[in-house]
């Protein structure tokens, strides 16, 4: 159950896993995620489903090694089993055909952006994708993104690939030169906050996919709660995607730090 059939290293800290999960592969839609656990005392962590293969009955996950739990997953090899995996969770992306889509993917956020780019392209939209990473080694899925984008713009902090600059620089250039009907931005929370501020200036409807803390993933505990348009929503069942201009990002960023002390302690162990 949940056997890893393929493992691939995409960068120093980022790995791609293809996992046996026939039921999830069949039910999943772009934007959905799974919650998984490694080991009897493992933590439940959410990961967006990047791709699936119905014939083979597999799903693809991409994970960055940032802590104890992701580290355990990254240490697994093909042939190992993931202790527990449940999905597909979360509301699927609303795929439609507004015309021109600006997709922004920052760092490991490029992974969850990929299935959405693919779906919007297949729906007949013009898709312009801006990818950003600290440097070219950390830039993932460029080839795959090019397959489903009319244009791909690369931004890196050090200029080692594409242009030197922030993702919002690249995005603003696109917005200034052509009409963008909708924007999707996925990446570190702070990046999504600034992407939202940018698109709000130009009144472009924007969706982001939030990466809050989660425990059960089925709406049971409220750990993932965010304030959207003045109301409390649960990222795991009402999201993970929300209207970017309605999200209280400052509150969300603060809540992401809730376990910082505990995580630091765990890392030291």
């Amino acid at each position: 159950m949940n056997k890893i059939v393929e493992k691939q290293r995409l960068s120093e800290l980022v790995f791609k896993f293809v996992v046996e999960a026939p039921m999830i592969a069949k039910s999943r839609k772009p934007g959905n995620f799974v919650i998984l656990r490694i080991g009897a005392k493992g933590e439940r962590i959410p990961l967006t489903i990047v791709d699936s293969d119905l014939d083979k009955g597999t799903i693809t996950l991409i994970v960055q090694n940032v802590g104890a739990s992701s580290g355990k997953l990254c240490a697994l090899e093909a042939g190992d089993c993931i202790t527990d995996m449940v999905g597909p969770l979360g509301k699927a992306t609303h795929i439609h055909k507004p015309g021109t889509i600006l997709a922004m993917g920052g760092g490991v956020g490029i992974a969850p952006l990929y299935p959405i780019v693919e779906a919007f392209k297949k729906a007949g939209n013009r898709v312009i994708t801006v990818l950003a990473a600290r440097n070219k080694d950390l830039l993932i899925l460029e080839k795959e993104m090019r397959e489903y984008s009319d244009e791909v713009i690369i931004m890196t902090d050090d200029g080692s690939s594409g242009r030197k600059g922030l993702i919002t620089d690249g995005a603003e250039e696109v917005i200034k030169r052509e009409k963008v009907d909708e924007c999707i931005a996925i990446g570190p929370a702070i990046m999504m906050k600034f992407a939202a501020l940018l698109t709000k200036k130009y009144n472009i409807p924007t969706q982001v996919s939030l990466n809050t803390i989660m425990v059960d993933g089925t709406g049971m505990c409220g750990a993932c709660r965010v304030t959207v348009n003045g109301e409390t929503k649960f990222t795991c069942v009402d999201g993970p995607e929300f209207n970017a201009h309605q999200i209280d990002f400052d509150e969300m960023l603060q809540r992401l730090r809730a376990y910082k002390n505990e995580e630091d302690l765990a890392r030291k162990k």
Binding site: R37, G39, K41, G42, D84, G219, M220, C221, E263
Partner: protein, 495 residues
């Protein structure tokens, strides 16, 4: 339909029962003091999440306590029991020393007697209706302790009676959720000969029994034995399966499932929606208890963290609030405080839990209600502002309504707040079933007798129907649903 009271009368007239009654005069029975449950010492027990507080009765204690029961002609205790357990019969078996027979009697009515003996609010149910309470104003027979004794005895003896299971009839049914409602549903359906699969969204089976109720009240080992029994009888359990998401109801029908029991519970946390409730360090009781009970976050080898507080405030007065506040004590809090807007007497928690909490050093701030949480510089909760309350006129539930004392607001320093003000039905499953009639509060509407929903092949019970209720009621629902689903399927498939 055989009359239950006729059966009770006949059984009472059995020779062994009459002999027992005659062996000791009632006036002697009445003079026996109610048994005191041996409890783990408070200072020691707060060091451990898994040390069960109640230690159980010894066989001698159990027989002596059982002898207090006068085997009334009209056993009013049964009226107090939501599933009408044949209380005099099992109690008299205990008195006679036939402990396994007592356990078997319990299992005719209740799927999980070891659980109910521990968590039922007996003081509002069977023991409230006992002759001792009603007529002579003395402590009732400790029916709950006796139920636990019989169930534990059977479990520990290794001689657990696996009930007779009918020949398989080839019809597949599904239970959604693995809490008490589904477990008792599954237990009956497997006996009727159905192919039963219980689908559970989490990675552990048991629902609230595992993630909600802490081990110092209900050890996991007790629940696991019951689950193993069900497996022995042939019930299948599928973990990590969210019906409606992992596979739809249509998918399951294609796989051959003919009927469904929804026991997905009230797993949606209620918040007060007051300012500051989204600060770090303010969380729902569901989150807190799930981290500790399900994810073992209190243990150093667990990957899941839990926030620990030096001064923890738990808002609420029910069993969940008691569980959360006592857990916080075990996690090292210097002060663990219950904040409840009504008085001590009106707290809905089991009296035993309140007593145990007091012994463990839990502080009770009654007639106080949070109106705002205030942060420190890092965005972590640092204070709570409380409105002092007084009791006004009774409301519809018969309890006096808490009324704010205007201007009387106090602030206390805390670093962790747990909101335990109740739960609502989790909307995830019902949202996946078009045409399922729901109430405006998110509960599934069912026929109260048959537990059948607006969709004929879908039945439901437990908290998803009742809002938040008790384990015993959930179990009663599961059994009723099994009986009527059996009728429904018998007719449809000519079984």
């Amino acid at each position: 339909m055989t009359d239950y009271s006729e059966i009770l009368k006949q059984e009472r007239n059995a020779a062994w029962r009459a002999e027992l009654r005659n062996a000791v005069p009632n006036k002697d029975r009445i003079n026996i003091e109610r048994v005191h449950m041996t409890e783990a010492e408070p200072h020691e027990r707060i060091k451990s999440q898994t040390c069960e507080v109640n230690k159980g009765l010894s066989p001698d204690q159990a027989r002596r306590e059982a002898s207090r029961c006068m085997d009334c002609v009209n056993p009013t205790c049964i009226e107090g029991c939501p599933v009408s357990i044949n209380i005099p019969k099992f109690v008299k078996y205990i008195e006679a020393g036939h402990f396994l027979d007592a356990a078997a009697t319990l299992k005719e009515f209740s799927a999980l007697p070891a659980v109910c003996g521990r968590v039922c609010p007996q003081e509002k149910q069977c023991e409230a209706k006992c002759f001792y309470t009603q007529k002579i104003k003395k402590d009732p027979v400790a029916i709950g302790y006796l139920e636990r004794f019989a169930a534990d005895y059977e479990r520990e003896s290794g001689k657990i009676q696996v009930p007779k299971v009918e020949k398989r009839n080839g019809v597949k049914v599904a239970a959604i959720g693995s809490g008490p409602a589904s477990l008792s549903f599954a237990g009956d359906m497997i006996k009727f000969g159905y192919d039963v699969t219980v689908f559970e969204a989490l990675h552990e089976i048991g629902g609230v029994l595992k993630y909600g109720i802490p081990e110092f009240r209900l050890p996991n080992s007790v629940v696991d034995v019951e689950l193993e029994n069900l497996r022995q009888m042939g019930v299948n359990f599928e973990k990590n399966f969210v019906v409606g998401r992992t596979a739809s109801f249509e998918d399951l029908k294609e796989l051959g499932y003919k009927a469904f029991f929804i026991g997905s519970g009230a797993g949606l946390p209620n918040f007060m929606n007051i300012p500051g409730e989204n600060l770090n360090g303010v969380m729902s009781s569901n989150e807190y208890l799930t981290r500790v009970n399900l994810m073992y976050a209190n243990q150093s080898d667990s990957d899941t963290p839990v926030l620990r507080g030096k001064c923890v405030a738990v808002v609420g007065g029910g069993n969940t609030a008691m569980d959360a506040v006592r857990t916080s004590k075990r996690l090292g809090a210097e002060r663990s405080i219950i904040i409840y807007r009504r008085s001590r007497d009106e707290m809905p928690a089991r009296l035993e839990e309140i007593k145990h909490a007091e012994e463990e050093g839990i502080e009770f701030m009654n007639l106080a209600n949070p109106i705002e949480y205030l942060p420190n510089a890092e965005g972590r909760v640092a204070k709570v502002r409380l409105q002092r309350m007084k009791l006004g006129e009774p409301d519809a539930s018969g309890r006096r309504k808490p009324v704010s004392i205007d201007g009387d607001v106090v602030e206390i320093d805390i670093d962790l707040a747990i909101v335990a003000i109740g739960v609502s039905p989790n909307p995830l499953i019902p949202a996946c079933l078009a045409g399922l009639k729901m109430s405006k509060w998110g509960t599934i509407e069912v026929n109260e007798q048959t537990m059948q929903s607006s969709i004929p092949e879908v039945f439901a019970g437990g908290d998803i129907v009742r809002g938040g209720a008790t384990v015993i009621l959930a179990m009663g629902d599961g059994r009723r649903a099994a009986a009527s689903m059996h009728d429904y399927l018998k007719n449809r498939y000519n079984l």
